[in-house]
């Protein structure tokens, strides 16, 4: 993200309530993660210590400091998705994409060797009636089964 775009995002928030998290969210949504240098630049611009921004991005699970692959697959690990087999979906994704990650404190992060896919987990997209649910680059897929995954991934350039 260049400085101009950052300025544009900052300018969206002229109201104090919700300002800092709003800016961070827009960066996260636009880039898929928050680059450390960008965090420093942002700190300067909005006159907030970088340590405080760092604290925020590590506390809130919506943010990520790690670079991500080209497509982001977010697997829902909410209760309905859990009881309907989200873990099997994760295992299938790991298997097909050849990745392995550890779930720790509600976070999971793994990127394929070719940098095409990053898999992360989330808690509930509010589409629980169609659980289990995954989201790829913002598109939701419901009623996911291990059998359906290859076809879904193929839509994002994956092949066996």
């Amino acid at each position: 993200m260049d400085e101009k775009r950052l300025d544009e995002i900052i300018s969206r928030y002229d109201y104090p309530s919700g300002r800092i998290l709003g800016i961070l969210r827009d960066i996260q949504v636009s880039e898929g993660y928050i680059e450390k240098d960008l965090l420093r630049l942002l700190a300067e611009k909005i006159e907030v210590p970088v340590s405080r921004l760092y604290g925020l991005v590590t506390f809130y699970s919506f943010f990520s400091l790690q670079p991500v692959g080209r497509h982001i697959i977010t697997l829902c690990m909410g209760t309905p998705c859990h009881v309907k087999g989200a873990r099997t979906i994760l295992a299938t994704l790991e298997d097909l994409l050849g990745i392995k990650g550890e779930e720790e404190s509600g976070k999971y992060f793994a990127t394929t060797a070719d940098n095409q896919f990053t898999v992360v987990i989330a808690r509930c997209f509010g589409a629980c009636s169609m659980s289990p649910v995954i989201q790829i680059d913002g598109n939701l897929y419901g009623y996911v089964t291990p059998e359906k995954i290859p076809e879904i991934l193929a839509g994002y350039g994956w092949h066996p």
Binding site: F59, Y60, T79, G106, C124, S129, S131
Partner: protein, 567 residues
């Protein structure tokens, strides 16, 4: 156009009515998050191109979600003077059939779910018409007939991105009469008498909270809408905002007027991009009609709403953490008092209410406290919206009077276990709630009964578990959730949950002895009694209820004679 008189409101209502009931056929695709995930956007585009290419005189629009998720994508069709027909499982492949059916006034049988001859928006009535006798009536579909829609009265019927349709259904006329004709204190009194209790989980009387906020010293105060909905498995608030955002805005407007507050905030979770977009759009619309901003309805009352976005922390639904988050801080709760009503956002007195609580306000003021409290049970008036999910045959978004039995919800509306499996339990109240076994399904869902069962109302997620669900695994799931969402500030919650998780892991691995169960029980009681905020105080409910009701599943995993006592 700025609405400043009953005539203005009426003029807009006519515009909206003509959109809901045009003089030509109208097709509306259910496009909330769930409808979109089921392929709604592709369907919408396909319908659009067929209409364009054929040059047909058909109005294509979008609607919110009617809640019958199992049947999605859902499309509603209105042909002048005929009943509105809900179509189900419509796909791009059957789009041609829909258009043909509309043009020939002969709806394909296999696509028709039911027909609606007239719809009671409560704040207004829409007559559609007679005909299509072979299609079942709305009231003949058990999923619908066992519900009582007050809050969801517009969802699925109006276009949530068009304020005129909300006004056509009677929207904003209540705010108009309140702002132009009622004394603010009498509004608080009406809400108090209605018996409305907070829908965010704790069930605190809303009118009383308003009164306390109003009496708090200071002139600059805030009202805040809690749209954090962090409970996984609950999506009522998402649907309410996506399908009918103006109901929330009207509720906040009336509340602001009653409390004499001119600044409003909606704190919404980042995981709901569509709801954020629709709210932003709705706020812009309301401003352009003079329903938000300065001198609303031409009175000297001003009120504005801003949106603050959360960032994925369950604890931020807790009131004091929510305030910290709005102020751009880490969302860690602080002990109360001070309560928000004394010192909330930026240290100013703040009234915080859940999305659905606000949505109850317009109808209370429109129909009166007596009418409102006629629904529900003693001390629990009105309805509650639930997301009925998990291993249930008809998952969806439903609304029933408070006090309705779990049996009625899960069997009569939900159709029982998915795929004919036996239902074992239902989890209410999310991570703070508990698992209620099938043998207690005569329990009515109201604030007190659920507490008696060791569970909680929470925000309204009902996750059904069947015979295949492992209850110890569920307990571990929730403890893992709570442990990772603990903000880390107080010791019982931070360390206690971590150890609870370790014990549960040991039990599930078949490496635990009887004394581990005793330890689990003591630990759970301690965490409950000594945690700082609601997160920790309620986090062990899933463990305590599964221990109480499904002890045999724990026992089956216990190793009787562990050589080293299990360690």
């Amino acid at each position: 156009m700025r609405i400043a008189s009953p005539e203005d409101l009426d003029a807009v209502r006519k515009i909206g009515l003509f959109k809901i009931q045009p003089d030509r056929p109208r097709i509306a695709v259910g496009l909330a998050t769930c409808g979109i995930a089921a392929g709604g956007n592709e369907l919408y585009d396909r319908l659009g191109s067929i209409i364009r290419e054929g040059g047909y005189d058909i109005e294509l629009t979008k609607s919110g979600c009617i809640g019958f998720c199992r049947q999605e994508p859902i499309v509603s069709v209105t042909i002048p003077h005929k009943p509105l027909v809900l179509l189900h499982h419509v796909t791009s492949d059957t789009a041609e059939d829909v258009i043909k059916g509309v043009l020939q006034e002969d709806i394909p049988k296999n696509l028709a779910l039911c027909r609606v001859k007239e719809w009671d928006h409560i704040t207004g009535m829409i007559q559609y018409g007679e005909g299509f006798e072979t299609i079942p009536d709305y009231h003949e579909i058990p999923f619908f007939s066992n519900q009582h829609k007050i809050i969801l009265r517009d969802a699925g019927f109006i276009n949530p991105e068009d304020i005129t349709e909300y006004i056509a259904a009677g929207g904003y006329s209540t705010a108009f009469s309140v702002l132009t004709g009622r004394d603010p204190d009498s509004v608080i009194d009406e809400v108090k008498r209605s018996g409305l209790r907070g829908r965010g989980g704790a069930g605190f009387p809303t009118g009383l909270k308003w009164e306390i906020t109003k009496k708090a010293p200071g002139s600059e105060k805030f009202i805040v809408c809690n749209a954090d909905e962090g409970d996984p498995g609950a999506y009522m608030n998402r649907n309410e905002m996506e399908s009918d955002p103006h109901m929330l805005i009207e509720g906040m407007l009336i509340g602001a007027y009653a409390m004499g507050i001119s600044e409003g905030l909606i704190y919404i979770r980042a995981e709901y991009p569509l709801a954020i977009e629709r709210l932003r759009h709705a706020i812009r619309e309301a401003k352009s009609y003079g329903l938000l901003g300065k001198e609303i309805f031409g009175t000297d009352f001003s009120f504005d709403i801003k949106i603050a976005i959360g960032a994925g922390a369950f604890v931020c639904g807790e009131s004091t953490a929510l305030v910290a988050s709005i102020e751009g801080k880490i969302g860690r709760p602080h002990p109360r008092p001070p309560r928000l009503t004394d010192s909330g956002v930026w240290g100013r007195p703040t009234d915080l209410n859940n999305v659905e609580t606000w949505c109850n306000v317009p109808v209370i003021m429109a129909k009166g406290a007596e009418w409102y409290s006629g629904t529900g049970v003693r001390g629990n008036s009105g309805t509650k919206v639930f997301s009925l999910v998990g291993k249930v045959d008809n998952p969806g978004m439903i609304e029933v009077p408070l006090g309705t039995s779990l049996h009625r919800i899960i069997y009569d509306i939900g159709g029982g276990g998915a795929g004919g499996k036996r239902v074992k339990a239902v989890q209410t109240g999310g991570p703070s709630g508990g698992c209620i076994p099938e043998r207690f399904f005569n329990t009515g869902v109201d604030f007190e009964s659920l507490l008696t069962m060791g569970s909680m109302m929470g925000s309204g997620g009902l996750v059904v578990m069947d015979e295949d669900t492992d209850m110890v695994d569920i307990a571990r799931y929730f403890i893992n959730f709570a442990a990772s969402e603990s903000c880390g500030k107080c010791l019982p919650c931070r360390e206690g949950l971590k150890h609870t998780l370790l014990i549960l892991n040991r039990i599930l691995a078949g490496k635990a002895g009887v004394e581990d169960i005793t330890l689990l029980e003591t630990l759970a009681d301690t965490i409950q009694a000594t945690s700082l905020c609601g997160l920790g105080q309620t986090a062990t409910n899933p463990v305590q209820t599964t221990l109480k009701y499904f002890r045999e599943e724990y026992d089956a995993l216990i190793v009787q004679d562990l050589p080293d006592g299990g360690r």
